[in-house]
């Protein structure tokens, strides 16, 4: 019976090889012309719908951040559609959970890419894994992540200050421009994200001249941090930068407390989440065991404090949140994602106005967008064809368990020579 399988296989194989002598390019996928409008993948001119991909971390070690981000995107587009969309065009969000795993991110990207016009992508290591792909396909991507190198890729539209610059600014603030000679250490997540924090730490160390008390790393998913904390304690670090995820921040700060070690913590944005302070992230709820150790920690935040009346866009955001995401507790990630929604809207609006919503048209719209005002929810961003970071200023806050969101603004736009000197070319 075996010869017959072989025969079948052989026939099949020959027919394949005879038919072609190699592979070729697939050619550009479904573009079209609808009236005066040039369309591309993910754009349905007949029903006036544009599909936006959203690769998010709804499970895994970053789920606590991914969920409010997904909710922020959803609420923004729901609200936008309810207001009539972009000149009648409705936005449809295609959400996929990739669990903060690059390999899953790649899979989900491959499945989605043929039918989306623009992409939101959560996380640094994950976005890094698909970067060559969206570059090749000219798919404009808004990363929920602030790696320095994002600024150098024209297809990316980061919303916010790069991590390395945030760390440099925070260290400039803590050491009072280098006049205080502190011993400073860092604990970073050993991947794209953490490495970028380390880049800022190194640049700041060179420029400010503080004593390097050690650089400790861990990998996502680790749960025991005794070693890292013990080494920094032994080195006598007076301030410690954390470039981590909240799932690690709690145990790290807690472990330090169990070892009787209380340095000045400097939490880089994604290390912080409101639920580190109280049970559900609202003021007055039951405090967590690490809340006490975190009081007074410096946090480089992404967005204006929840409910900040000085931000003109805040009122609209809270109204939309109330209507479309009523269960959402205060979250800097929700606010960030909401601001990202605004960026996506502005890019698409410009592309539609120019009559070209193909991949190339959307990319051109992004590169020529100029400054986008985000209503003060996050600092305004500027996109030009020259790239570079959209912002070099840092929002420096301090943990205060009494205010909503638990972050008290110290300086809303701290800039420094150190941060300007950070080389962000990757």
């Amino acid at each position: 019976m075996r010869p017959s399988i072989l025969a079948v296989a052989a026939v099949a194989a020959t027919s394949l090889t005879l038919g072609a002598c190699g592979t070729g390019d697939a050619g550009e996928s479904s573009g079209g012309n609808a009236g005066s409008l040039q369309t591309g993948p993910g754009v349905d001119a007949s029903s006036k719908r544009i599909r936006v991909g959203d690769l998010n971390a709804l499970s895994g070690p970053a789920a606590a951040l991914g969920k409010p981000v997904a909710a922020g995107h959803q609420a923004y587009f729901d609200a936008l559609n309810a207001r009539g969309g972009i000149d009648g065009w409705k936005i449809e969000l295609a959400v996929e959970d990739t669990g903060y795993q690059p390999q899953q991110h790649v899979q989900a990207y491959n499945a989605l890419k043929g039918d989306i016009a623009i992409l939101n992508s959560f996380g640094s290591p994950t976005t890094k894994a698909i970067q060559p792909k969206f570059q090749r396909e000219k798919l404009v991507t808004v990363p929920a992540s602030f790696d320095s190198i994002w600024g150098t890729d024209p297809t990316l539209a980061p919303v916010g200050t790069p991590y390395s610059i945030d760390v440099a600014n925070a260290l400039d603030y803590v050491t009072k421009g280098g006049s205080e000679k502190l011993k400073v250490g860092i604990i970073y997540q050993n991947d794209e994200y953490g490495t970028d924090g380390l880049r800022g730490f190194e640049a700041a160390q060179r420029a400010l001249g503080f004593t390097d008390a050690g650089r400790q790393s861990y990998k996502p998913g680790d749960s025991d941090f005794t070693a890292q904390v013990q080494k920094l304690k032994a080195a006598g670090a007076e301030a410690v930068v954390l470039t981590a995820l909240p799932s690690a921040t709690g145990p790290i700060v807690g472990t330090a407390a169990t070892l009787g070690y209380t340095p000045q913590w400097i939490l880089q944005g994604p290390s912080y989440i409101e639920q580190l302070i109280t049970k559900d992230g609202t003021v007055g709820a039951e405090p967590t065991p690490v809340a006490a150790a975190l009081k007074g920690a410096i946090v480089t935040s992404f967005s204006a404090p929840w409910g900040d009346e000085k931000a003109p866009g805040m009122k609209q955001m809270l109204a939309d949140q109330k209507r479309f995401a009523p269960d959402q507790p205060p979250s800097i990630y929700f606010a960030l994602a909401y601001a990202q929604g605004k960026v996506v809207e502005q890019i698409l609006r410009k592309a539609i106005a120019s009559g070209d919503v193909s991949r190339g048209g959307i990319l051109a719209a992004k590169e020529n967008l100029g400054e986008v005002d985000l209503g003060g929810i996050t600092p305004a961003v500027t996109y030009t064809s020259e790239g570079g970071p959209p912002s070099r200023q840092t929002l420096i806050t301090e943990v205060d368990p009494k205010v909503p969101g638990f972050l008290k603004v110290i300086e809303s736009d701290h800039a420094s020579d150190v941060a300007d000197a950070v080389d962000i070319s990757g």
Binding site: A63, S223, S247, G260
Partner: protein, 295 residues
């Protein structure tokens, strides 16, 4: 010296928890010859049950722990009665695979019900601590060591001096002979699973104590306790306890003193390295015995 004592304390505290976990493995293995891969899920479930009862239901913490222990004991016995009893006589791997499947379902079930974030445990200790000779002692860790010691003493007294303990030992030694003298072997099996559930609750509880928290990855600790049961010898309760403490101390001391050249977080695999070294010398562990084989 203070640093060493501090790490030693942390190690013993972690080791005590591993001992509880490993004992859970050992009692089940001794009675049914199965390594219960769902033990990690039971730890997780125990910690979440306690947290839910104490924080959401509002029971006093001690009561919450007792109720959770009973619930987990029932769950363990239930797993045996509903599932495993039906497949007695099948190859061991099939049974092991079933515990793996159950573990996956329970772990995801907990995450689905409670979400991926860290929760409050609802314990009275929180982050409180005191100092002894420069060593910071966390209340929750001190309680962990104390409670574990009591639980272990209770278990060994039970095993040695009660009819049930005797029945368990007899079942482990020769199931058919035990059955023939009128011991309800099935009930004994269910009893060992119930005991594993109760032990898992205590283990999970102290794993989730400060600076830990009830979170979905809590059950991974059971994987780190595997070397403990192999070190001690599968199915040897004494070995499990000794192995557990050894592994805990090894893990924490390596995390403090391992040179960077061994790589980041070498401490996480140090127990496995130690295990392999010991197995190459003693293939049945420190306290295990080579089963006699008839041809």
């Amino acid at each position: 010296m203070t640093e060493f004592l501090q790490l030693l304390f942390q190690g013993v505290s972690l080791g005590a928890t591993y001992a509880l976990v490993a004992l859970g493995f050992a009692v089940v293995y001794r009675s049914s010859g199965v390594i219960n891969f769902a033990q990690g899920a039971m730890l997780l479930l125990g910690a979440y049950a306690t947290s839910w009862l104490a924080v959401d239901v509002g029971l006093a913490f001690g009561l919450a722990v007792l109720v959770a222990m009973v619930a987990l004991a029932l769950a363990g016995a239930g797993l045996h009665a509903v599932v495993l009893r039906r497949v007695t006589g099948q190859p061991t791997f099939v049974l092991v695979m079933i515990t793996i499947g159950a573990g996956i379902a329970v772990t995801s079930g907990v995450e689905a019900a409670f979400g991926p974030d860290r929760r409050l445990l609802g314990d009275p200790w929180g982050s409180s601590s005191f100092e002894v000779g420069g060593v910071t002692i966390n209340s929750v860790k001190a309680w962990g060591i104390a409670v574990t010691t009591v639980a272990l003493a209770a278990y060994f007294a039970f095993d040695r001096y009660t009819r049930w303990g005797l029945a368990m030992q007899a079942t482990a030694a020769d199931e058919e002979a035990t059955l023939s003298v009128g011991v309800p072997v099935r009930l004994v099996h269910a009893g060992t699973w119930a005991m594993a559930g109760g032990l898992a609750t205590l283990g999970g509880l102290f794993l989730a104590g400060f600076p830990g928290a009830p979170q979905p990855t809590l059950g991974d600790a059971a994987l780190r306790a595997f070397p403990a049961i192999v070190l001690g010898g599968l199915g040897s309760p004494v070995g499990a306890v000794v192995g557990g403490v050894l592994i805990g101390v090894t893990e924490v001391l390596t995390s403090g003193y391992a040179p960077d050249s061994l790589g980041t977080n070498f401490s996480a695999v140090a127990p496995y390295v130690a295990m392999i070294a010991i197995l190459l010398v003693r293939p049945y562990g420190l306290f295990g015995v080579r089963p006699a084989e008839r041809i």
